[in-house]
C-alpha cells in the first residue's frame, strides 16, 4: 500500500548515472503487460455483451452500467439492487476501517514508546497476523461466533443469556438481529461482518500509523508537559494535530482494502446485505455467468477505490510537504 509513497520519496543521495534505454523499454513492456493490461481488459469487457447460453462478445454498449444503476428493465421498471450492494460495501468498509484506526492508534502510540527490541517482537506478531489469509481469519471467527460453539454457547452456559432475558436486554438484542428466540446469535449479522473486517485490517492500521507515530518528536510532548499541559491536553493539542493527516490517510487506505473483501461478506453477511465484490464473483465465476456485467461491477468498484486512493495520496503528499 505504501509502495508508491516510498518509491516517490526524493533520493537521499544523488546516485550514479545509469543509462539503459533498452532496459527501460523492456521494463515498461513487462510492467505494462502484467500490471496494467488486466485492468484495461476489465474496463473494455465491461462494455461487452452477454450471449445467452454461450459466453460473451465484444461490443460497445452501456447496458451493463445501466443495469447497475437503474436495473436491466429501465425505464419500465427501476431497481436499485446493485447500487444497494455497493452501498453495503461502502457501509461495512467505513465502519470497520474507522473502528480499526480508532483502536489501533493508541496501541501504535504505545508501541512506538517501547524499546527497539520490544517493538521488533510486537511487529513480528502483528505482521504474522496481518499476512494470515482471510480464509483462516474467517474460520477462526466463524468458530468463535457460530451458534453451536464459541460465544453463544459461552453465553448460555455462563448464564449470561438468562441474565439478559431477565433484564430485558435480550429483546433489544433481538431487535438488532443479534438473538434468536432461544439464545444470542452473531451469525449472520452486520455485527459479525464488521467485527471480522475490522480485525482483518487492524494489523494494517498499526503498520500504516507506525511511521508517523514513531517520528513524533518526544521533545515536543515533553515541552508541553513542562509547560503544564495535562496528558489529555498534550494529546489534543500536540499529538493529534501532527498525526491528523496520516490518521485520515490510513483510514482511507483500509477502507479501499475492505471494499473488495470477499470471504468475510460471503460467510458473515445476511444474504440480502451482500456486497459488490460478491456480485462480481457471482457474475464472473458463479451461477449467473455474465462476464461483461461482472466486469462492469468490477469497474465501478475500481473507480470507487481509485477515487479514495487518490484522496489518500493527496493527503499523504500534503502531510509530507509540511
Amino acid at each position: 500500500m505504501t509502495a508508491v509513497d516510498n518509491a516517490k520519496a526524493p533520493l537521499a543521495t544523488p546516485a550514479p548515472r545509469a543509462r539503459w534505454p533498452l532496459g527501460s523499454l523492456a521494463m515498461a513492456l513487462v510492467v505494462g503487460f502484467l500490471c496494467v493490461t488486466p485492468f484495461i481488459l476489465v474496463i473494455v469487457i465491461s462494455f461487452g455483451q452477454k450471449i445467452e447460453g454461450a459466453g460473451w462478445e465484444w461490443a460497445f454498449t452501456f447496458a451493463n452500467y445501466q443495469r447497475f444503476f437503474v436495473g436491466a428493465l429501465w425505464p419500465d421498471e427501476v431497481t436499485f439492487l446493485h447500487l444497494q450492494r455497493l452501498y453495503y460495501a461502502l457501509y461495512y468498509a467505513v465502519i470497520a476501517s474507522v473502528l480499526a484506526v480508532l483502536t489501533a492508534f493508541p496501541f501504535t502510540y504505545l508501541l512506538t514508546r517501547l524499546s527497539r527490541r520490544a517493538q521488533s517482537i510486537w511487529l513480528v506478531f502483528i505482521l504474522a497476523s496481518l499476512s494470515l489469509s482471510e480464509v483462516f481469519i474467517v474460520m477462526g471467527w466463524d468458530v468463535l461466533l457460530s451458534n453451536r460453539s464459541g460465544l453463544p454457547m459461552l453465553f448460555e452456559v455462563s448464564g449470561a443469556t438468562d441474565w439478559l432475558k431477565r433484564t430485558g436486554w435480550f429483546e433489544v438484542l433481538r431487535e438488532w438481529g443479534l438473538a434468536n428466540p432461544r439464545n444470542v446469535k452473531f451469525k449472520t449479522s452486520e455485527f459479525a461482518t464488521i467485527l471480522t473486517m475490522s480485525y482483518l485490517v487492524w494489523p494494517y492500521a498499526v503498520i500504516l500509523l507506525y511511521p508517523a507515530l514513531s517520528r513524533l518528536d518526544p521533545s515536543l510532548t515533553e515541552a508541553a508537559r513542562t509547560m503544564g499541559a495535562g496528558p489529555a491536553r498534550v494529546m489534543t493539542s500536540v499529538i493529534l494535530p501532527t498525526v491528523k493527516l496520516p490518521l485520515i490517510g490510513a483510514t482511507l487506505l483500509l477502507f479501499v482494502f475492505l471494499l473488495g473483501s470477499y470471504v468475510t461478506v460471503v460467510v458473515f453477511a445476511e444474504p440480502a446485505k451482500q456486497t459488490t465484490a460478491v456480485a462480481v464473483y457471482e457474475s464472473v465465476r458463479g451461477s449467473t455467468l455474465d462476464a461483461p456485467f461482472g466486469a462492469a461491477q468490477a469497474v465501478i468498484l475500481l473507480v470507487t477505490a481509485a477515487g479514495f486512493l487518490a484522496i489518500a495520496q493527496w493527503l499523504t503528499k500534503r502531510s509530507e510537504a509540511r
Binding site: A7, R17, M27, T103, L110, L132, F136, A298
Partner: protein
C-alpha cells in the same frame, strides 16, 4: 498508573488479535473430525493427515509452496531493475513505472483477479501453474520494490564516491557496493512477498480456474461443507511459517526501520 494502563491496553489488544488464532490452533488438536473448542480427545492425528496421508492436502501444500517461492523470486527479480532505475535516475518514466507496478497491490484484488482471468484466458494459459506464479509476482512486486528502495536509499554516498574515484565502472560498483549493502533488504522483500503469496486467495482463485488448488483455495472450496480440524492444521502451519519468516527478518534485518521508524532514535 498511566504506564500500567498502557500495558494493559496493549496486552488486551494482543489477546484479541490472538484469539481466533488460539481457537483454530486448539481445534486442530481434535481427535475426531468435528471442529470443537476446547478440543476433544486431543492428539496429532490431523497433522499426520494434513502432511502425509491425505493427498488433496499434500498436493495443495506442494502447489502453495511452488507458487509462493516462484512468485517471491520473480517479484524480487522484477522489482530490482525498477527500484534501481528509480534510485539511479529518478526520471518521470521510472516513477511512472514504479507507480504502475504498485497498482495491483493497491487496488481491490478481486478486480485484478478478474482482469488476470480474462487476460490468461486470451493467451490460452488459464489454469497453468506458472500463470499462478507470474500473477502473484505481479500482485506482490510492490513489496520488494519498497524494501529495495529503502535499502538503496540507505547506501552511504561516501562509498559510491570512493568507488568512483578509484575508477570502478558502474557494473563493478553495483557488484561490490550496491548489491551487498542492499542484500538484506532484497531478502526481506522476498520474504514479505513469499508469506503474502502463501496466504493469498482471491487472485489465485481466478487464475487457477479450478485446474489446481493451493491450500487457501482448498480451504475455501471446502467452506460449504463446514470446517474440519485438518483445515485448522493448515492455519497452524501458516501462522507458524509467518512468525518464523518475520522473526528471521527481525533477527537479520532492521524490522522497525523497514516499517518506517525514525532512525535517529533508538
Amino acid at each position: 498508573m498511566r504506564r500500567t494502563m498502557g500495558h494493559i491496553f496493549m496486552a488486551l489488544s494482543g489477546l484479541v488479535l490472538a484469539l481466533p488464532i488460539i481457537i483454530v490452533a486448539g481445534a486442530s488438536l481434535n481427535g475426531g473430525r468435528t471442529m470443537l473448542f476446547p478440543p476433544e480427545d486431543p492428539n496429532f492425528a490431523r497433522f499426520v493427515e494434513f502432511f502425509v496421508t491425505e493427498t488433496i492436502w499434500v498436493r495443495a501444500l506442494q502447489n502453495s509452496l511452488i507458487v509462493a517461492f516462484g512468485a517471491a523470486t520473480l517479484a524480487v527479480l522484477l522489482a530490482w531493475p525498477l527500484a534501481y532505475l528509480l534510485w539511479a535516475r529518478g526520471s518521470k518514466l521510472s516513477k511512472l513505472l514504479a507507480g504502475l507496478g504498485s497498482l495491483p497491490f493497491a487496488l481491490p484484488p478481486i478486480v485484478f483477479g478478474v482482469g488476470l482471468g480474462f487476460m490468461w484466458a486470451f493467451t490460452g494459459n488459464l489454469g497453468a501453474l506458472w500463470v499462478g506464479i507470474v500473477s502473484h509476482a505481479a500482485l506482490f512486486m510492490a513489496l520488494p520494490l519498497v524494501t529495495i528502495s529503502i535499502g538503496l536509499q540507505s547506501i552511504d554516498r561516501a562509498h559510491l564516491d570512493a568507488a568512483a574515484t578509484m575508477g570502478a565502472t558502474e557494473a563493478v560498483t553495483f557488484r561490490t557496493v550496491i548489491l551487498p549493502q542492499t542484500l538484506p533488504y532484497s531478502i526481506s522483500g522476498f520474504f514479505f512477498a513469499l508469506v503474502l503469496s502463501f496466504n493469498e486467495f482471491i487472485v489465485m482463485f481466478f487464475v487457477s480456474a479450478s485446474a489446481y488448488a493451493t491450500v487457501t483455495l482448498q480451504i475455501f472450496n471446502s467452506l460449504r461443507n463446514g470446517y474440519t480440524p485438518t483445515m485448522a492444521v493448515a492455519a497452524v502451519l501458516f501462522i507458524t511459517v509467518s512468525i518464523a519468516v518475520f522473526s528471521a527478518v527481525a533477527r537479520w534485518g532492521d524490522l522497525p526501520r523497514l516499517m518506517g521508524a525514525d532512525q535517529s532514535r533508538n
